[in-house]
Symmetry: C2
Subunit: 712 residues, 2 copies
């Protein structure tokens, strides 16, 4: 038995704050539990009542003779810490704190929450909330919440951080005939978090899809580790609000949480095999799709339609996901030729013509279900003159029953399709109202398959710790001197030590030395000021490029020194850097930074001075595996050019780039003191890479610097 079984499958429940006042939450919860058909023991607790609708009411939880698995608490929050003392003495196992007024209301609420957590810890009581609506376990008919009508039974589980979305989605699901095994309003997550609940539900065989509505995470590390395991067995779908800056501002003012950067949520979901839905409609659609149909094994989809236009719209929408319509095999086309009118489209979308009777749909679908070149079927029905919607829907059901490919019907119309729609919904087939919704759902459903496979190969390894000591020495020295910003020169030494290629770079302290260096490395060269006090080197006139002869080397040396002294008379000058001027076909960027919630993260993308304008970057977290590094690269738009070349630019060796990213990841894992790292640009030309400029910002830090894996 799992400990959380006490919470979700209790043998006895104390309802603290149960009341006979019908407008009160305490009444609604009591009523919902009683009327829901729960078979365990129910103990209402209220100081002022003796009986409540036939149940004996207890003055205190301590008065109950029976042992209590779960206490559901709906009293003003200021009394809850003291109540937990009683629960502890009574050895109550678990609790649901419905009461609002916690950290979402400000500092005082936060203190009360802390007090509750402290008592709970002391007595080892695990609890949901505060500020939640409760939960449902339909397996034992336990409707332990206020606000929900009794949900249908099914195999979807839902965890919602927002009470409003909890009721809205469950209410919508009732209409769409979607059943649930568990639904949990998770509230402020003072104790039990997303990670805990996902871990619990992930093990239940009565759960085959987990749906999340999230506003913020409090436990990214646990969440990640748990989700990476569970998503191998069952899909996790998440809707998260606060994608935009204005949205996030609204979200923070509403939940009072440290939200973390939204793009890091997206990166984390991806790394964990979780599918993120973009909006509420998509969440609805995905819930239907996952709960009612199998997941596609690949991305070769076919569209069947009795009307050209909607078929075109489906093709348009697949294009937005970069999915081309799969070509039908000769065999499939031949089989369809025998069946369909001469004027059928002979292609995908399969236009079976406006007069299509139910049998034509059925036979077409039979052929397509059997075709090995197809992973999923979208089937559009418009109400035309000869169309028999209901009879066609019956065929849809018959032909798709028990099949392993997903089948998504689109019923495009209104009145005439109502009966057909109802039939399909009652027979557990999702119904989409527009071609685009079906396409989005099909693709996102496939993306679960895709991501699941990535996670399976994404083995988190410990750093290989190359020239650990060299780097440690540089970092320690600087931190000892209270210097947290490393110069380009030192940054390159660190990068180089960890196998990240840099262009030949030397520090010189005299004109003669500079000339000697140039004789060794050859022209052209770049010369730059080397000073911990001058970080914006160009601005200071501290960079001269395209130096092609000895005379210019000499002049440049003096010129840079002069400029630096003029720019900042008291700057400490460590020398003049002389480096080989290299060129590349592509300017890339590799960066790393630190987020309070998500710890260290890594960025890769198109580099140069216009990074912020192009915004062609993607994110992930250390440690990177090969597969994660590959995905990080492949998630950018520039990847297509890197892979295939572009005009006079030859393709870039992607494996070389993967190695560099993994080396950066190792560096970050080995040195949590690196708070920020910037390599921009990283020049790339075929299999050659050069970090030609770089910057590191340090901090004093020990311990684990990443939310992923069991490393360090």
């Amino acid at each position: 038995m799992e400990y959380l079984d006490y919470l979700f499958s209790p043998r006895s429940i104390a309802i603290i704050g149960a009341t006979d006042k019908k407008e009160k939450v305490g009444y609604a919860i009591f009523k919902n539990i009683v009327e829901g058909g729960y078979k365990g023991k129910i103990y209402p607790v209220n100081k002022r009542l003796d009986y409540l609708e036939g149940y004996r009411v207890y003055r205190s939880v301590l008065d109950i003779e029976d042992s209590i698995d779960l206490a559901i608490i709906s009293i003003p929050i200021q009394y809850v810490p003291e109540l937990f003392e009683q629960l502890g003495r009574k050895r109550v196992k678990t609790a649901v704190v419905i009461s609002a007024g916690g950290k979402e209301t400000g500092e005082k609420g936060k203190q009360i929450e802390e007090a509750i957590k402290e008592r709970a810890k002391k007595y080892r009581i695990r609890f949901l909330g505060p500020n939640c609506l409760g939960f449902v376990n339909t397996l034992i008919d336990l409707n332990a919440n206020f606000g929900l009508d009794k949900p249908l039974k099914g195999k979807t589980a839902f965890i919602s951080q927002s009470g409003a979305l909890f009721t809205a989605i469950m209410d919508w699901a009732l209409r769409e005939k979607i059943g649930f095994s568990y639904a949990v309003s998770i509230g402020n997550m003072a104790d039990l978090t997303f990670g805990d609940i996902i871990e619990y539900l992930g093990k239940k065989e009565e759960v085959d899809t987990i749906l999340l509505y999230m506003e913020s995470l409090t436990d990214p590390e646990k969440f990640a580790n748990v989700s990476r395991k569970i998503s191998q067995k069952k899909p996790i779908i998440v809707a998260k609000a606060g994608r935009s800056e204005s949205g996030q501002k609204a979200a923070v003012s509403h939940t009072g949480a440290i939200a973390g950067k939204d793009f890091l949520y997206s990166a984390l979901f991806k790394r964990c095999g979780i599918v993120r839905s973009d909006n509420v409609l998509q969440l609805f659609d995905l819930t239907e799709a996952f709960s009612k149909q199998p997941v596609p094994e690949g991305n070769r989809f076919v569209v069947v339609t009795n009307a050209g236009g909607p078929g075109v719209m489906a093709a348009d929408q697949f294009d937005k996901w970069n999915v081309k319509p799969v070509s039908l095999s000769e065999e499939t086309i031949e089989r369809l030729n025998k069946l369909l009118p001469r004027v059928w489209s002979h292609n995908n979308p399969v236009d079976i013509i406006g007069d299509a009777p139910p049998e034509r749909y059925r036979k077409t679908l039979e052929i397509l279900f059997e075709a090995p070149e197809i992973d999923g079927i979208i089937c559009i029905l418009t109400p035309q003159f000869m169309t028999k919607p209901y009879e066609t829907a019956v065929q849809f059901y018959e032909v798709s029953k028990g099949k392993k490919k997903p089948f998504y019907p689109v019923l495009l119309g209104g009145e005439k399709l109502e009966k057909a729609k109802l039939f399909l919904e009652e027979h557990n087939i999702p119904v989409f109202e527009t071609p685009e919704e079906a396409v989005d759902s099909m693709f996102l459903s496939y993306s679960y398959t895709y991501r699941k496979r990535l996670v399976a190969e994404d083995i988190l390894e410990k750093s290989r710790g190359k020239n650990y000591k060299t780097v440690k020495h540089i970092i320690d020295k600087n931190l000892n001197e209270d210097n947290i910003l490393l110069t380009e020169f030192e940054t390159k030494k660190i990068l180089s030590a960890y196998g990240i290629p840099v262009n030949d770079t030397y520090n010189t302290i005299s004109v003669d030395e500079a000339v000697n260096v140039v004789r060794n490395i050859g022209f052209p060269v770049v010369m730059k000021i080397n000073s911990p006090d001058i970080l914006h080197k160009s601005e200071a006139g501290g960079v001269i490029t395209g130096i092609k002869d000895i005379d210019s080397v000499k002049k440049s040396f003096e010129k840079i020194l002069q400029n630096a002294k003029k720019y900042k008379p008291d700057a400490k000058i460590e020398g003049i850097i002389v480096e080989k001027q290299v060129s590349g076909d592509f300017e890339l960027i590799i960066g790393s930074s630190f987020d309070k919630l998500f710890k260290q993260y890594i960025m890769f993308g198109m580099g140069g001075t216009m990074v912020e304008f192009f915004k062609d970057v993607s994110f992930d977290f250390p440690p990177l595996s090969k597969v994660a590094a590959k995905e990080l690269i492949a998630s950018t738009r520039i990847y297509r050019l890197l892979k295939s070349g572009f005009r006079d630019k030859k393709p870039v060796e992607i494996n070389g780039l993967i190695d560099i990213l993994m080396n950066v990841s190792d560096l970050l894992i080995d040195f949590p003191q690196i708070e920020e790292l910037d390599i921009n640009p990283l020049l790339a030309k075929e299999n050659k890479f050069y970090a030609v400029d770089g910057r590191i910002k340090l901090r004093r830090f020990e311990g684990k610097n990443t939310i992923l894996g069991g490393v360090n």
Copy 2:
């Protein structure tokens, strides 16, 4: 009286092909007209029948004594040309050719269509179709089609090129209680086109919104001229399939039409003040929004909600349209403070808290309707414990009645909201199921206002014909010599003549001349091969840049000549170009090309070698007005940088860029012989612009080269 009144409001109708066979289209149409309640004369025509459900049947249209305004034809298409001879003799005014089998089926069908058109022209019969479903005019209860149940009455008009979408959308509208005055299935548009029908419906005061489902245009010129006028008075909304390459491929195979490039449809819609919907759901939503609510006058929107999460989602979605939530005025906040619980959000989204009763919604909305800083209201209702959905919906109706600001309620849930939803639909208030749908509709509805204003200022002027003769001379000379590709040198002469600034560029035929030129224009210079036979100059080793001294000028002259001779021994060499090497902060592109359907068009955007990768370009058609040129620039992403500058790049003088674009437009209008024009890059730095490379492709052509306006 308009001529098309004979078609849409006929006094008498002959139904040719009316039959008693109930599965036939000819029966369905007859039945629909009779049962629809049409008050005019109905004359069924069928060679094999005497009576049909109480109506006398005529053997031929010639047997009818009465005059006939409209013939509806549902006989096999091969008999239709001959039938038109009879219609002609009978002086029938208009027709609807239902029969399929026209150009959509291939060459033979196309010939039949041509034959029908010819007869129709001869007898001046205007007709809809072939391959259409007919139409509805609810004003006179004329349901002249097959496949539709009788629509509700209203002020929306709908024109559909696809029969399937015609029935699907009308069927959906019945369920959503949206009424229509006219709905027209336009079919193959052999005679009457989108332009004709829009022109007709645009004049009707019973039409206040025009909805189009389009797969292709046949009359872009008429369509543009008509739409630009009508959109000043009433919104036109279009859904067009075939946005992607695969979609367009499917569309062409399905309609057999020359589709034209999809991005030019988008550009044309924009220039005509038409709103394009992106998908079917959006089309549904926009239809509701436009038919049931006023259009917002500006883009300052507020979101009211009883739940934080959905408010955040609305803010996220507005962000996708680059719309920030408007800040509430101090006065509005004060008024809300007096009304709302202490913990309300104090900001937009206005979170009025989960326990909001109907009165709180009403009073909040009253304040927001009165607030001058707000142009439109989105109001989210989730079914929480205290929520009274129906009573709240009644308040929504009461408070929004007769208001001039749009009011879009979002009912987020299912079962518990059904009654409220029904009430609102019956009271002509649109209901959205998700925050994102409401936001998209609000923004697109506003975009109508925005575009309408642009079109009003977009006066199409005739070219100002600068150095017309200079250019004419160059073009004539080249065409006379059968040379259609102009060199950079000649291109720059043309550009310069029309006021498009180029960098100093000279053709030199000797080293001495080159040296002289350089002494005049100063260093640095670029030298390039000037040969009509070498277009890829760099590839040929025909370009040397960064020349900074006389010695290099001399060497470069020889080197380029050598390279050119090696690259193409028989190339005609006209000299070596010497040009001032200029630099700019931004590389832009101005291009022009020719589309079979849309004629000449203009492109503007981010230039350089990566144009195809960045795809940051926008399109329009000549002639450009100032406002159109401005919009062309503002539609790119790079515009933001041009306007505000970026790091060390200063802002660019946008008016200078507008002038250049208008000059390009003049050039194109004056010289329809210019089939393609490329200026890439156009360097820009503050108020300085230089076309540093260019290319023109000519063709023999006279006449009007643009689909816009009454120019030339």
